[in-house]
Structures are given as structure tokens and as C-alpha cells.
Point group: C2
Chain length 412, copies 2
């Protein structure tokens, strides 16, 4: 009736070692129009240069920058307005934003920097070569790599892929994660929840599902009672799923059947991780499938997911992910559970240009408010006893992949 | 042939003054299951308390904390194991995580802090009242406001609403934003783009659309040529749209027809805002509909949208939005266009526990890479000449509603 706790970083090494190769991701060729939310599977090469020619970024006059070198308000330089395809010395051609520069021109003077006198403009100050011009290929250059393997396709990259002339790109298929909720007391019927004392509405599975949907296809495997043979039946028969997450039943009580069943169906690699909240997590290869056994409590499950499941799927995609902390001043002293990685939920406030982090007093693994009200998390490593009021700490917005930064050692 | 530029903050005052009351948002009652992405329209009251009773957060023994006051490893306190519904002095009842505490008990001792000796446990250290217990109503309390008007429903609040026993909630209907792309040269046909010199693939509308979709229903009104009567026809006949965004044609060139047409169809309130990039933006009430006329260039349009359109829709929802900066050390000197709000795109890197901001050299309003590659933006107000290398600056992740923080004056 006791549990050994391994550190999150050791757990991570084990997960990588045992499970990284278990998910084989085929490459798909998909239309860029349908590519949001996928990861690039091979370096992508631009097919066109953009801009295709040097173009004006402002309305004004296309000029030769060198003609304006001596221009000033007291000594304006006169340039003759022309409408030809090529301009010569001391000539200027009216141009609109977005239009290609005429031959000979290398800069654009905006309207407000000239006086217009009949068919002459007076330049009132010197202009640098290439000023107010987007140069051919400045944005993307044909033949260049514009997105490398492992890059997540967000709306900015999506737009860049189209600009680079791509219709189709290679991506990894999305990882398929099945979520199975385990527990006699869990219901999805609001009337039952409102009227019976001993039932709990299922909120952990939608929370975990919505979190992983950014990167994965999440399949709801439903709720199942604490019944060993029923769980065993489901686990034997899942199809078309790469990774299994179970929620609930990872403790050591009589009703905590999850780990007991999984031991019979496969190999439990660890049970117990030194995280607060969330120490009862287990991990194994069940029928050779990576299986993360998380708590039924929403906050514990969320923390376990952020620290080990999200980093795992990101690693399978070979993802390039960067996470940056917000520096904040701690509003009050906090103490840590020594030997555990403490994930403290904090709200943030601005005061006189500083960001203040207020640790929430609600710290239970079952207290959903502690993550719902929080803006960010503060991680206290195993060997840190706590922080004092006024200490400057690094916090991470709760939705960011902060667990990936932690397990990869990329941590302040 | 010139333009007056008003400051972003003045533009914001005008937008609020002229347009805030133009969009009437009905309240809908919707199922919580379908509520992700809506804003709460009325304070929401919890229907149940959760936990419903005091429950154990760990496996162990339910005890009376006061019995353990003198416990230590050298002087353990003996407690007798019982299985009754109420415990008395120096009794302990085995309990599993999630189970309600028996009467009389007010704390849980985890297994690892006791020695088990037959039907006696020895407590090895004192335990505080309520330790390892989630108290009745600690998470949500029946009758309390659990979400106030203007709160955005993300996955955490979604879970909390279900926990609070809610089936249905009042929300504002989503604002309907129509996006009309204007320009002879804009195409959505990749073959045309790859083969013709003078065409531009439409990337601005998907970028703006994907950004606003978080808060609004976005309706694509298509691409239309620089043809005054055709634009006028569309604008007269839009139905079921609250806010119009046009992309392109806001400059002063011959082909820049957008503002010319809109002047005939309604009232242009400003044309020209002191932003770099993005100064050619216009705003008006066209057929009494708030109409934001943005640049056709993707970066300019993105900046204009973040600074004035996104804050406007958030204000219509009466949204409670909090944005926090990342403090970073500037890698090199940057200078500003004086008199303009400069939105500089930066990449971030971690070095020796510090975050370093590297301003991208690609600063043109047409250079999509400058926002695609960027991690964050750095805002230089009108009166700031620039920053030196090594200066500590506040930057905002590019996807955050940083424009709302800026126009509302909530800015470092």
C-alpha cells in the first residue's frame, strides 16, 4: 500500500525511451487550405519569389535615391515628373502603393515629403536607396526553405505558404488519442448530478480533450465503471488509436482498478510521479500502445497532461516549440512540498508597470477553480523550498506548453 | 493628395463614440455543451456546491486532526482503525481518494505518514485540520456567482460551468463580421498566381479572418475588383452582418477606390492613423454600419485589426480581457518613426535565463515574414525615439489582444 515517486524528468526519459518509437506517423500530402493545425513533415521550398518585382510601399513618386542626396527644406531638389517605364537622372514617376517601380528607380518618396509645382516635384529631404520599397524576393524567395520539418501550421505560416506559391504540402498525419474515463461515480447526465449525492459530473475528459485538440485528433472512448473485465475488454479492442489516456482509478484504493487491469494487459513502467498536484499518475505500454493513466481529478489530470502527455505528442511530431516566461513579482510567500515538482496556480495583476503573481489559496487537485481562475502557473522544482513575497519569479500562461519547456530542461 | 493621421488612442475614442452602440447583441440561452467561444451575457449562479461533501484528496486514513498534535517519529500517536460512519477520539477510518469523510473526521493522513500495526495505525507527525481534504463547496458554492458578464468561455470555464450544475447559460450572440477584399490584382487561383506577374494571392483575408474567428463569426464576402459601382452594390446589399471589414484600396492612388466609394455610401470618420505599419486605415459608418477599411497588405492589416477592430469587438461584448507582457532584453538598437505608434516585430530567444528580443529587420507592411517569423510585438509610442541595445522592454505575444491593452491605456 505505498507508491514510489519518480521525478518528472526521469519519467520523461522513460517515456521517450520506451514510447517515442511506438507511434509511426505517415506523411500526408494535403492542400494548404486544409493544413491549419498540422505539423510540417519535410522542409518546404518556396515556388515563387514575393514580391515578384520591387514594389512601392507608399503612394508617392518613384525616384533615384542618389538624386536626392543634397535635398533639404531650404535647398529642395527639383525632379521632373515623367510617365515612362524607365526614369532617368532627376526624374520622378507618380506611383501608387503596391505598384512595381519603373526601371532606374530605387526608392519611393511619399507625397508628404515633396512640393508639387506643375510638372516638377521638389524633394525636401534625402531618401535612402530602397526606402519605402519592398524588394523582389524580400518576403519569400523561390528555392528557399520557408518552413522546416516539425513546424506547426498556424494562420501566419498558412498565409506564408500560400504567398510562397504552394498548393500542397507534406504534413504528418495527426496523432489519434483515445480518452477513456473510468469510475462508478462519473456521469454525463446533469439531472443525475443535480439530484444524487454520490455522483460527479464528467469534466476531466472535456478539459483534457480540449487541451490536446490543438495537436491531436481526440477520440472519446466514453465512461466505464470500475469493472476490471469491462476495462480490459475495451483496452483489448481499441482500434485506430495511437495513444491511450485513462482518467481515474490510479490511486491505491480498493476501487482504483485502472493500474491493476493494465498490469494484466501490458507493462506498467512507472506508477507515481513526484508532482503536486498529480502524484498518482502511471504510464505503460499496454498491448504495446503508449498509455498514460491520469488522475480523475481535473487539476491533477491537467498538470499530468501538460508535464508528460503534451510533451510526448510534441516530441513524436518532432515539434519546434518555444515557450517564454512572464517575469512577475510574488505577492506572498509560498512554500513547497519538498521532493516534488509543485505546480502552483497564480493570478496575475498589473500594478505600476509591474506584473504581480498572486498564488491561489485553493490548491487541491480536485479544485477546478484553482486552474479556471488562474492566469498562469509557477513551477517549483523538487529542491526549492519556496519563495518569499517580493521575489521575482518566472510564470507561464496556463495554456502554453510549459511542460515541454520543463522536461526538455529549457527552464529559467 | 495628402492625409491627416490621428493617433490610435484618438481613433479609438472616435470608434467607441460613434460605433459602440451600433451593434445590438441579443442574449441567447444555449447549452453549456455548445458554449465554447461565447461571452457570458449575465452573471451565472452556481446551482450546486462542489464538493458536495468533505472529500479525501489522498488515499489514507480519515482522522481528527486534534488527536495528532503531539505526534512525531519518536512519539507516534496510536489510532484505532474503525469502519463506522462516525469516528470518535483516537480513531481512524481507512479512506480512498474521492470518498467523503466520515462524521467526526476533519483531516486525512496519507498512507506514507503512518505505520500500520494490526488494527492500529501510528501517526508519525501532526496533521493540520482540513489537510488533504477538499471541503464542501470549496470549488463552487451553490448560489455564488461563478462567471460574470463579459467572461469568455474557454475550456476551463466550460468545465467549471458543468461542475456548478449548469445545463444552459445566457450568452451574447456572436458578432457577425463580413470581410470584403478589394483589388483588381487579388486572386485565389494558385495557377494564376504562379504564372502571371501582376497578380497577388489573397492571403490578407484568411489571416484577418482566422484572427477574428476566436471571438466572431466571420463571413467571407469575396474578392471584388476596383470598380466603384460593384463595391457600392455589395455594400448596399449586405445582410445579416454587424461589422464590415474591407481589405485594400485605402491609399490615395487612382486605383484606391474603397474610401471614395464609402464616402458616397456613408460617413467616413477618419482616414489615416499614425501607426507604422498601417497608416492608411479608414473608419466610418456606412449605411449606419461600423466599417473598418484596412490595408490590403497583410502585416498592415493585421496591425490595424489588432489595434482597433479586435478591441472594438471585445468592447461590444463588454469583455473582461487581461494581457500581460513578457519582459525582454533588446538585442540591438531600434529607432522609431516619430509621431507614429511603431509596431515592431521581434523574435524571442532564451539566453542564460534571460529572454532576448531580436527586432526583425524586415519591417515593410507587405512583408508577411515579418509577422510570420515573429514571436511577439514591441510597441513604441508616438513620443519614443527608440530603444538601445540592452534595454529591458515589454513585448506581447503576437496572438494576444495587445491592441486592447494599448487603447485602454493598460500599458507598461
Amino acid at each position: 500500500m505505498s507508491m514510489e515517486f519518480i521525478s518528472v524528468r526521469d519519467a520523461w526519459k522513460v517515456v521517450l525511451d520506451k514510447a517515442l518509437s511506438k507511434v509511426r506517423l505517415d506523411r500526408l500530402t494535403i492542400q494548404v487550405h486544409k493544413s491549419l493545425g498540422y505539423f510540417i513533415a519535410d522542409d518546404v521550398i518556396a515556388k515563387v519569389s514575393y514580391p515578384k518585382r520591387n514594389i512601392a510601399l507608399f503612394d508617392g513618386y518613384a525616384v533615384r535615391a542618389e538624386d536626392t542626396t543634397s535635398a533639404s527644406i531650404n535647398n529642395p531638389v527639383a525632379l521632373r515628373i515623367v510617365y515612362s517605364n524607365v526614369i532617368g537622372p532627376f526624374e520622378a514617376k507618380p506611383i501608387n502603393v503596391g505598384e512595381p517601380l519603373p526601371g532606374g528607380a530605387n526608392a519611393v518618396i511619399p507625397h508628404e515629403y515633396v512640393n508639387l509645382e506643375g510638372n516638377i516635384i521638389e524633394a525636401l529631404k534625402p531618401i535612402e536607396p530602397h526606402a519605402n520599397v519592398a524588394l523582389r524576393g524580400e518576403d519569400v524567395r523561390s528555392g528557399d526553405i520557408i518552413a522546416s520539418k516539425g513546424t506547426y501550421i498556424d494562420k501566419f505560416l498558412y498565409a506564408l505558404l500560400l504567398r510562397a506559391g504552394l498548393n500542397e504540402i507534406p504534413v504528418f498525419r495527426r496523432i489519434r488519442v483515445g480518452i477513456l474515463t473510468i469510475g462508478d461515480e462519473i456521469v454525463r447526465d446533469m439531472n443525475l448530478y443535480l439530484t444524487k449525492e454520490d455522483v460527479v459530473y464528467d469534466i476531466t475528459s472535456p478539459l483534457i480533450s480540449a487541451s490536446l485538440t490543438t495537436y491531436c485528433d481526440v477520440i472519446d472512448l466514453g465512461i466505464i465503471k470500475d469493472d476490471e473485465s469491462a476495462i480490459s475488454h475495451i483496452i483489448k479492442n481499441v482500434e485506430n488509436i495511437d495513444v491511450i489516456i485513462t482518467l481515474g482509478g490510479t490511486s491505491l484504493g480498493k476501487r482504483d482498478v485502472t493500474v491493476k487491469v493494465m498490469e494484466k494487459e501490458g507493462e506498467i513502467i512507472f506508477h507515481g510521479v513526484s508532482i503536486v498536484p498529480g502524484r498518482t499518475m502511471a504510464f505503460g505500454l499496454i498491448h504495446d500502445k503508449p498509455t498514460f493513466m491520469l488522475s480523475g481529478f481535473p487539476v491533477a489530470a491537467f498538470v499530468q497532461m501538460k508535464l508528460l502527455v503534451e510533451p510526448y505528442v510534441l516530441k513524436v511530431y518532432n515539434a519546434k516549440i518555444r515557450v517564454f516566461p512572464i517575469l512577475a513579482e510574488l505577492s506572498r510567500r509560498i512554500s513547497s512540498t519538498i521532493g516534488f515538482l509543485n505546480v502552483v496556480r497564480v493570478t496575475l495583476n498589473k500594478q505600476k508597470g509591474k506584473v504581480i503573481a498572486n498564488p491561489l489559496r485553493l490548491r487541491g487537485s480536485g479544485v477546478l477553480s484553482s486552474i479556471s481562475l488562474a492566469d498562469a502557473v509557477l513551477l517549483l522544482s523538487e529542491d526549492i523550498e519556496g519563495f518569499e513575497a517580493g521575489d521575482i519569479v518566472s510564470v507561464y500562461k496556463k495554456e502554453e506548453p510549459w511542460g515541454f519547456a520543463y522536461v526538455e530542461g529549457d527552464f529559467p
